[in-house]
Every structure is written in structure tokens, then in C-alpha cells.
């Protein structure tokens, strides 16, 4: 079975940023994304209250390395200073590489 290598970019940030980050992803050429609700703790303290005031989301994007780097750079520029956010990348094998 033929597979190709792509980047899996994972972004974890406060839920309120969802619409903004999604807009950024699409602007920067991601062909898709997957979001799961999450809670957690980091430098900005625990994030798990209700009325989704301070819950987190976990966004995954599979894309080409260049796109991943561009997104990462952009998100860092826009949000790292003031918002709860981390991101990390790794290589993944995909089928239907043309999709990503």
C-alpha cells in the first residue's frame, strides 16, 4: 500500500480562539482540520471550568511540511503572547496524499 509523509500539526489552545484559529488555518492553506474538546494545565494555569469560559480545544491538521511551518509561525506570532496555546508537529504516513 503506497503511503506518503505529511506533517501532523497539533495545536492546543483555549476554546474561545476556535473561530479565529480556524480562519487562520484556512487562510494558510490547510485542507481540513479535526477538533476535540480538551482540558488541561500549563503555564497559564488550569483550564477546565464550565460555561466554556476556560476550556481548551485540541486541533489537529495534517498538511505539507511547509504549510505546517507557516501555520505554526503564524499562530505563534498571533497568540503565544496573550493566549494559552501550545503546538507541536510530527511526521505521519498518509494515504490519498493529494488530500492534504
Amino acid at each position: 500500500m503506497h503511503t506518503e509523509i505529511r506533517k501532523l500539526l497539533t495545536v492546543i489552545c483555549e476554546a474561545q480562539l476556535e473561530p479565529r484559529v480556524i480562519a487562520d488555518l484556512e487562510r494558510l492553506g490547510a485542507h481540513g482540520y479535526t477538533i476535540t474538546d480538551a482540558r488541561g494545565k500549563g503555564a497559564r494555569g488550569s483550564r477546565n471550568a464550565g460555561w466554556d469560559r476556560s476550556a481548551n480545544i485540541r486541533i489537529e491538521v495534517v498538511c505539507e511540511a511547509a504549510t505546517a511551518t507557516a501555520i505554526a509561525a503564524d499562530l505563534r506570532k498571533l497568540y503565544y503572547e496573550n493566549f494559552a496555546m501550545i503546538l507541536f508537529m510530527s511526521d505521519v504516513e498518509v494515504l490519498r496524499a493529494e488530500k492534504f
Binding site: 474561545q16 494555569g45 471550568a49 464550565g50 469560559r53
Partner: protein, 315 residues
């Protein structure tokens, strides 16, 4: 006596469970649900009352109340910034929280007066709606200056389209259009269950209050003091305004309590986006960790007693 009000006992239960580190927690979907029901119910109640009388009669009162909503953050800011040495953004954000109102606190004071069968102007929820937004605008202007002007359009979305404001105003409009008879079919859910839903809300609020204590410790003693003292000052202003407006004893207590309460639904979401450099845990720790419990446990009876002194003849 207040603490005997069962809904408040649910808050106490939540606090105790939280302090003892029980794993009790309302699922967040349920907390959202319960909050939505409260917001809609309060809006509906207010709207129904509006439909009973010409808006014009209320206009002057509403203007006065909005003015108070603009004044309170302007009072809070210098205290926080100069006295409390808080950064501009943080001080502005906290000021916005305290200039706005807490829907949960309103529900508790309404329950308190009802259980003591003290009447109050039924259209009070209108003031709750009126007070949500002005303080947010003031807070943003303080933090951003008019420089922010160019992005006001964008900010308006954060301010007016947050679900808190949408549900409150939406409920108000529906109640207004439908009128007293119109809402009868949905009375069972929104009005009859109100106190029970409020009890569940307060149970979770108790747990949330405790979860804020950590942040509170970090945020320092000044903020704790502010979160107790400022509400009392604000209550004085609100109460006096109620007296000037010739509200009933009950209505005056409600307005005092609204002034004393700090928002934790509409404002946090809006300020987070409008003034991101402000540390949200400061305002939440103060509003949820100190002011909310203070108001529902001690503040309300206190403001009531005070109003009694001002209006000895009980009206």
C-alpha cells in the same frame, strides 16, 4: 433568614464539596444548559413585564441605570490601577467585570425577596440586560483608548453576540412580543422550574468558587479586599439611585445588588477577545472567588438592612 434559603444551601453544599475535594462536578454540558435556562428565563420575565407598560415610561430609569453602568467601571479603574498597582489592561478588565452585573446574583436576590414576600418592580430584568454591556465598552476604551476605534465593528461582535447577551436579550424580546399569555405554554419549563435550576447552578457555582481560590491566593490581598469593599460602595450607589428613582424597597435592594455584583458570563468572554493581554484569572478569581459568595451570603441581607434604614417606612 437568608442562609436558610434552600437555593443558597446548594451553593454552600458546592463550596463544602469543593473544599473537601469531592469529585462532584456538574457535566459542563449541564452547566451550559442550566445557565442558558436562567438567562432565557430572566430575559422572558423582563420582556413580559415590558409588554405590560409603555417603554417610554421606563426610558428615564433605563438611561439612569445605563449611566450607572458607565460610571462604576470609571470608579473602579483608578482604584485598581493606582491604589492596586495593577497594569492598565488588568485594571480595565476587572473594572469592566465589576461595572457589569452577575445574572446568578440577580436570581438569588430575586429569590431572597420573593421568599420574604417583599415585592419589587417586575421589570428589573430589563436593568440586568441594560447593565451587561456599558461597562464592557468603558473597559475596552480604558485599555485600548479610542485607538481601538478602527476595530469597534469587530469588537461589537464579541460584545453583543456572546451567547450570554444573546440569550438574555433574545428572551427579553420573545417575552415582550409574546406577552404574559403568550409565554404561558412555556411557563412550566422557564418559570416553574426556575428555582430548582437555580439551585443546580449554585451548586456548581460553589464548586467553581473553590476552584478559584488557588488563583486568588496568587492574585494577592489587595484584590481580595477590592472584591469585598468595592461591591459595598457600588451597592451604596445603586441603592441611592434606586431611592432617587423612587423604586420600591424591593426594587432598591435589587438595584443595589446589581451594582454590587460582578459579571462572570458576558464580560469575561468579551474582554478576553478585546483586551487579551489582561490576565483573565485575576478578574474571575475576584468575581467568582470573593464577590459572588460575599454577595449571596452576606451582601444581600446587608444591602437589604441598609435600604431599610434609608426607607424606614418600608417603601
Amino acid at each position: 433568614m437568608n442562609t436558610l434559603d434552600p437555593v443558597v444551601l446548594f451553593f454552600v453544599l458546592g463550596v463544602l464539596a469543593g473544599l473537601m475535594r469531592s469529585d462532584l462536578r456538574l457535566p459542563s454540558a449541564i452547566y451550559d444548559f442550566v445557565t442558558m435556562l436562567l438567562l432565557l428565563a430572566i430575559g422572558l420575565k423582563g420582556g413580559v413585564e415590558l409588554s405590560r407598560q409603555p417603554l417610554v415610561e421606563l426610558a428615564p430609569q433605563m438611561l439612569a441605570v445605563v449611566a450607572m453602568g458607565l460610571l462604576l467601571p470609571l470608579l473602579a479603574y483608578p482604584v485598581l490601577h493606582y491604589l492596586g498597582r495593577l497594569q492598565r489592561a488588568d485594571a480595565a478588565s476587572i473594572a469592566a467585570h465589576y461595572g457589569s452585573v452577575s445574572v446568578g446574583t440577580y436570581a438569588v436576590v430575586a429569590a431572597y425577596l420573593t421568599s420574604q414576600s417583599i415585592p419589587f418592580e417586575e421589570y428589573m430584568p430589563v436593568f440586568v440586560v441594560m447593565l451587561e454591556v456599558p461597562a464592557i465598552v468603558v473597559g475596552i476604551v480604558i485599555a485600548r483608548g479610542w485607538a481601538a476605534q478602527h476595530q469597534w465593528g469587530h469588537l461589537a461582535r464579541e460584545i453583543f453576540l456572546g451567547k450570554g447577551v444573546v440569550l438574555l436579550t433574545g428572551g427579553l424580546l420573545i417575552g415582550w412580543i409574546a406577552g404574559a399569555d403568550g409565554v404561558l405554554p412555556i411557563k412550566a419549563l422557564f418559570f416553574d422550574l426556575f428555582k430548582g435550576i437555580l439551585a443546580l447552578f449554585l451548586l456548581e457555582m460553589g464548586l467553581i468558587t473553590v476552584s478559584q481560590l488557588g488563583d486568588l491566593r496568587r492574585s494577592g490581598l489587595f484584590l481580595v479586599g477590592f472584591a469585598v469593599v468595592f461591591p459595598m460602595v457600588a451597592a451604596l450607589i445603586g441603592g441611592s439611585l434606586g431611592w432617587v428613582l423612587g423604586l420600591t424597597e424591593g426594587g432598591t435592594v435589587v438595584l443595589a445588588t446589581l451594582a454590587a455584583s460582578a459579571s462572570y458570563i458576558a464580560v469575561p468572554a468579551a474582554m478576553r477577545m478585546a483586551v487579551p493581554e489582561a490576565n483573565p484569572s485575576l478578574s474571575l478569581a475576584a468575581a467568582l472567588g470573593v464577590t459572588f459568595p460575599f454577595n449571596i451570603l452576606l451582601g444581600i441581607p446587608l444591602y437589604h438592612a441598609a435600604v431599610r434604614l434609608i426607607l424606614p417606612d418600608g417603601a
